[in-house]
């Protein structure tokens, strides 16, 4: 093999990679936040709602979890625009990612919520907690604590999956790589660089979710054990 590696494009193009990584972070943080909210609401609906609501949420979850993200992104970006709803690539990306995230969050959070025993809610009633206080402190936070490892790895997977939004020309990290490699013809080196950046982002996200976990769950912070 007499291939000469050449990373000299980095000297000139590194700001592009930084900008791409920054957009990836922005897109994914917003979609993780929205998707988490959506998923938590749906999980509550699935655990406590009436039969119709359960059906609707179940349909949403199965629909999203059994179709590829790429197709979901195409439906939002190309599909909605052909129906007259024109969205920018970034907005479409966030919508598709958040809806996708929401379905996975629903399943994960539902598992956490059903693991909270009814007696816990009765105890909250006895202590005079309001409905909202009981939901937040007795159901949601402990439920989230139980499923937090699954939740945070799903968040990291979503960050990696956001690379797919390059296909609708959202100018995030992968799209940046595509641009740079078509200018420099150094595709192997460019994708190696981007792979390393994604690895670093995964590590960063893992660390961030670990820190958020410490902040959210007092028991874990004080005792070092989880529920």
């Amino acid at each position: 093999m007499n291939y000469q590696f050449d990373f000299s494009f980095l000297a000139e193009r590194w700001p592009d990679f930084v900008a791409g990584a920054w957009l990836t972070i922005q897109l994914t943080v917003v979609s993780i936040a929205l998707g988490f909210l959506l998923g938590t609401v749906c999980a509550m609906g699935r655990a406590y709602g009436g039969p119709v609501l359960r059906r609707v949420v179940g349909f949403y979850v199965e629909l999203i979890r059994n179709t590829p993200l790429l197709v979901q992104i195409f439906v939002v970006y190309f599909g909605l625009s052909s129906l007259g709803l024109k969205l920018s690539a970034e907005t479409s990306a966030v919508i598709a990612l958040a809806v996708n995230m929401g379905a996975y969050t629903t399943e994960i959070m539902r598992a956490g919520i059903v693991s909270i025993q009814r007696t816990q809610l009765e105890a909250a009633d006895c202590l005079g907690l309001t409905r909202l206080q009981a939901i937040v402190h007795v159901v949601l936070l402990p439920a989230m604590e139980r499923v937090y490892p699954a939740l945070s790895s799903q968040f990291v997977l979503l960050m990696l999956a956001s690379s797919i939004t390059s296909q609708i020309s959202a100018e995030e990290l992968t799209a940046t790589a595509n641009n740079v490699q078509s200018d420099t013809y150094r595709s192997f080196e460019v994708y190696i660089v981007v792979a390393v950046v994604y690895l670093a982002l995964s590590a960063l996200y893992r660390a961030a979710f670990w820190a958020i976990g410490l902040g959210l769950f007092a028991r874990k912070r004080r005792l070092g054990t989880s529920l």
């Binding site: 199965e62 059994n66 790429l70 197709v71 195409f74 439906v75 994604y198």
Partner: protein, 215 residues
Amino acid sequence: MIQLNANHLVYLLEAAKWTVLLSLIAFAGGALVGLPLALLRVSKIRLLRLLASGYIQLIQGTPLLILLFLSYFGLGIMGYKLVPIVAAGLSLTLYAAAFLGEIWRGCIEAVPKTQWEASDCLGLNRFQQYVYVVLPQSLRLAIPPTVGFMVQIVKNTSLASVIGFVELARAGQIVNNSTFEPFAIFTIVGAIYFVLCYPLSLAARALERKTNVGR
């Protein structure tokens, strides 16, 4: 502009065959590499464990899309020009192996330690322990999550469309280019994926329920 018609549907269904074929290649390749990987992860030798977990973390920390670009465009420019199906099969294999390896490691570790001790007492060597005692038991545990992961494989074959392999998602784009009815087309494409994936999801859930009996 051409109206969306039955021929387009036939074309999409033909393309779905390639999706199925690519999924099978990825699953077979992933299993072939994933099993040794799982065994390395539980090896007695530290270096082997580190190597295997390094590989898994590397693959699980980078997007499959980048893996596809590397094996298609990257290797192409280095002089190893792969045809799309080979490049797609290769990257999906590497990807599936990392995830299956990690799933199966869990299943191997879930076999109670007493089983290892008992087979030690019976004088079985490490190979015999795996073949006659540990793997048959972990197989039972491994089936539900493995079927569940097959759904991920089927969905992820859609990414092969970006390197020009004409499977279902790419066929959808091609039909869309001539008819320009993206909402209808990608809904149909999504529906075909759903038909492929949903039975697998249901099977995974049913098998899981069956495995958990008595716990």
